[in-house]
Point group: none
Chain length 230, copies 2
DNA sequence: CAGTGGTCTAGACCACTGG
DNA sequence: CAGTGGTCTAGACCACTGG
């Protein structure tokens, strides 16, 4: 015998999968669900709680419960500001700005950023250090539309990631993780010729693709931890 | 005025951060928390619910609530069966079994697997191929308690991951992703001396740690995709 | 204003674990 | 067996939203 809140959860999931409730559409209220399934409101709430924490539903006090807009494709990688991550380990963060300017993207980058081929985009290149040891080489391209003042920022005060999170709040991201041999620029910037863990990350705000970042981590000094519960 | 369950949540988080409650240690029961904070059990539960879904606590019916063993450093990675993943790309999967036998783990592996130092564990070593090109070297150690018939399986029919999912359903996992240079065994098995993406993955079933797997992917042939929504 | 979700109570019965 | 977490009830009052 299945728990009642699971029955409700299945029902809601089913409605969404069948397309009866579409993204951003309002679903039944907690009271309606409680009446429909003859349970207490707390039980109906529990089903919704669970779907909210899975990112399937979104609640809004006074308004109702809605089907979430953007569906996660598959796997999840949390995005943390590297300065915070280093600080949370009790270590000292320092940054070094290598380059900040406007560039014309090549075809493939323009496509990745979803901008016209001949229009300028912003570019920044930094090295992030933990206790003075380089742990990340960050090569990033930004769609100017979402961060027009990007070139005027001081990225020693605030990482590009932190700044972009403020002006164009993240709604979505995707990642590719690879092992690569670093090229000469990266070897000298990181002061290591170890194989690198390369993360290619695209970030979205509500209105489009904000930036594409190539993040290189010396394989001997950086680990990308993960944890997952089913 | 803060909600009462948040006060309890702060208290628990604080205890853990101060090291008063250590990983895998039992925390106060729901009833004890309810009494201590003069709230109903449902409210104490809500605080714990929230910390469980964040991966900070783990509950076990009949036993209690415990501080999670491995703290998620940051990110989440979905676990897919490599044979399915290859098939889903429309490519041909083939496996090669290099070694399947019982071994005595060293201290560090015994600790990772949560078994006594001198007790045998199972070991398997395979190479996975996509259209006859090696894409993963899988070096895996298994707690025999959860898969006693492991050594009798034919891993050409069914990957270790698929078999374990059946006999000891996954409830949890953690990952470390690194870039490394492959050693000689791996170079010859993968037929490539490219830097490797190494994933160290531990998997749990309800009753404990099932296996520790070291997965090596040639950096030029494998990508670990990810996608995320906020 | 009526309706929504957010929090909370003081009970209840259950399944599960260890001793 | 006593203790644990898992589910559930039938109420309550609150803050917030729109009309």
């Amino acid at each position: 015998m299945q728990a009642r809140y699971l029955t409700i959860k299945d029902f809601v999931t089913d409605q969404i999968e069948r397309g009866i409730w579409e993204p951003s559409e309002k679903i039944y209220s907690e009271n309606e669900l409680a009446v429909k399934f003859s349970v207490s409101r707390m039980t109906a709430r529990k089903a919704i709680d669970s779907l909210c924490s899975e990112g399937v539903l979104v609640r809004s006090q006074g308004l109702g419960t809605f089907v979430a807009d953007l569906r996660p494709m598959s796997s999840l990688l949390e995005i943390r500001n590297i300065a915070d991550e280093i600080a949370s380990r009790g270590h000292q963060y320092s940054g070094q700005v290598i380059d900040v300017r406007s560039v014309i993207p090549d075809k493939s980058l323009a496509r990745l950023l979803d901008v016209p081929v001949d229009s300028a985009v912003y570019h920044s290149c930094l090295v992030h250090r933990e206790n003075d040891i380089a742990v990340q080489y960050e090569d990033r391209y930004i769609n100017p539309k979402f961060a027009p003042d990007y070139l005027q920022q001081n990225f020693l005060d605030q990482t590009p990631n932190a700044y972009l999170s403020k002006v164009a709040p993240l709604t979505e991201a995707d990642h590719v993780v690879e092992a690569v041999l670093p090229d000469d620029n990266i070897v000298s910037a990181l002061n290591s010729n170890f194989p690198c863990l390369k993360i290619t990350r695209r970030t979205w705000c509500k209105r489009g693709i904000v930036s594409v970042a190539y993040l290189y981590h010396p394989g001997d000094k950086y680990r990308l931890g993960g944890h997952l519960t089913f």
